[in-house]
Amino acid sequence: MPETSAWEKASPGAGGPALATPAAAQDAPSHTEDWPPRGSYASPSPPDSLAIDFVGRRRAVFWLALKTGCLTVLTLGLYRFWMKTRLRRWYWSATRPGGTPLEYVGDPYEKLLGFLIAVVILAFYIGVVNLALMFVSFSLFQQNYAAYALSFLGVIPLWFYARYRARRYVLARTRWRGVRFGMAPGAWGYVWRAMMHWAITLLSLGLLWPRMTFWLEKYRTDRTYFGNARLTQGGRWTMLYRATWPLLAALLLGGLGSALALGAGRGEGYTLILAAWGLAAYGYVYYRVETTRLLANHKSAMGLALTARPKPFRILMITVLGTLATALVLALPLGLLGFGVALVQFAQTEVMQEFGELGALLAALPRPLLVALGVALYFAIFLLWATFTHAWVTMPTWRHYATTLTIHNPAALSRVSQRARDEFQEAEGFAEALDLGASI
């Protein structure tokens, strides 16, 4: 026997079913060494931890995003529910904890319905409540800023509500190894907590920001399930202060720079202030990545635990370079196209008539054609921007977070069993209607 198949490793001495002869195993279509992945089936020597692979390629997500994006534009936005579903399926299936892919089972039709339900409620809000606010605002204050302010305040709770519901929907439609994730209902509880924490954070001038980060994440995590296993967010909120040092350093540097700029060294002061802004940008990313890491490391469920090792600098570079590259790639062809449209528009004014044949030719172009060109250009920018950022920002960021995460004690998975389907008619409609779509 040249090689022990995974089948035999799993059943030492059992003999296996009648089919399991070594010859048959050898004739079977070629398998890679690690198929099926170790730890995905019952075996006497399960691994201590599961790494997370990401097998997606930039080219694949680029084409998928471009194709679905074109359809979205052609259907006046209706296809966006299908686009989102298909992209999520792709991202999920390319992410493989312990070699077995995640699965996204969300349905585009339920997203469309959820959106429509949200639109009914928001249409009432925007149509009727805003109208009333505007009436009151004009009647009492003779301007509309009061209406805008009140209307904006009214949307804030809805915003948190939508965020929680969207997360619940996505978790309810995510599976791994055939087992559903889930999130307990609790959107309104999240709303008032989030508003309280924001108020406290603003009143403390940002000093209690880590406290908000921790408690809101704990609220969400403690309501998250994998099958029947409930996640728990451990740790303390003060542990997140570790993630704030670049921001504090930027504050210090900025203060120093301001003092200098006001006093003796003008030039040095401005240089320091500029450096402080750069450091603050890094500090913000550092805070986001580090808190995610620290919080992940203190999550557990039924004996399962996580280790995350994402690198803040890496995330910053992916974001900055990816966005820059996208802008560069788009600037060239769109600049040319835009210049062409501008030239033609200019040609339609009287001045260009003097330019002879070319001017006359350009001036003869029908106006509807120009309008169509302009509209196409406008959508092309949206479309290409979204497509390139998928390939250069979203996917690499996702991959970095995925591949730097490890699951410990997978043996505990044997105690996990399925949970019931969360029907959730409204899907992520509010997030969609309020444009909180995030990147995926």
Binding site: S5, W7, A10, S11, G16, L19, A20, A24, A25, D27, A28, P29, S30, H31, W35, P36, S40, Y41, A42, V55, A60, G77, R89, W90, S93, A94, R96, T100, P101, D107, Y109, L112, L113, L116, V119, V120, L122, A123, I126, G127, V128, N130, L131, A132, M134, F135, F138, S139, L140, Q142, W176, R177, G178, V179, F226, Y378, S414, S417, Q418, Q425
Partner: protein
Amino acid sequence: MTVVRIGAAPEAFEATGLYFDGDTAIGDLARVTVDEAIRALKIARIGAPPLHWPLDALRLLPDQGGGDLVILHRRDDPVARLILDDALLLERLPDVRRPAPLVNRGRLAAWALAAVASVALIVFALVPALANQMANFIPPEGERALGAATLEQIRGALDETGMGQPVAFCETPQGRAALETIRSRLAPGLPAGQEISVHVLDHEMINAFVLPGGYVVFFRGLLQAAESPEEVAAVFAHELGHVVSRDPTRHALRSAGSIGVLGLLFGDFAGGALVLLLAEQLIEASYSREAEAAADAFARDLLLDTGITPAALGSFFDRLRRTYGEAEGFLAHFTSHPALSERILAAETDLPPGFAARPVLGDAEWRALQTICN
């Protein structure tokens, strides 16, 4: 039934798969074969009886990243999954890419229809009804503020330079004076306390419109297309008819409500287009036939009271219609004029006895008005 096979029987298929039963998170190694006799996929596992999945009930998960794994499920089983690492089997499964909806789409469609109907009800019934009520209660200062804000929006939206430069007001002193002469000539016919501000926008559109709070706005194009000051005064009087009946207030409130809802439906995708739509709506305000007829009747009385022949309005539009056709930008709310008011306006014959027309502007004033933008 006899199955006639042409050529060789298909090769035996065999693969090692990973089976998840949809209950536990630990998979089963599976020896996967095709049983051609019963047209089923046989999934053999240790310690469990083999499963037989009919070949034509097998479905493939779509849009998978990586492209190295094939994940199959039964059409009628939402959770169990079989993962294979080669795609050889797919050739034997003709139906594998057909859809397998998880949710009841019939019910979804019913809900969706109800949702669309509710939005339509809000936009076309609730918001207009509310706007009509509010227009009666809004105090004059509030109404003027609403008009001022809307005028700014329209000036911005009509910008054609693309630089965000609002369309300029035309205000040469002589032109303003001529405009003021017409305004004060018509003013006695207005209800007490009704403030009127009149503006000219530097734009070639042949149009005029009213905004809440007594803002009457002419485009340069209309002043240049008119052949006599009487024609401008007649349009002015008609627009004042709308002011008095508060049509623009109702209209502005209504579109403020419904445009927001439309923005919601299309997302920020078409945000820019909506501002244009808003402006268009207010300028091309197509009021109801009753509102137009009332404005015409008001205009006729006002013109008669102030010694201007009402026929000027009818003749002006007839001429414009002959010259430009029903082209866009030309007083859209007049092109849909009710037949009744055509008669009112054309009726030179039923001028009251003793009516004597007095000129509106002198020649110099009229020239000043037509060149108010220079």
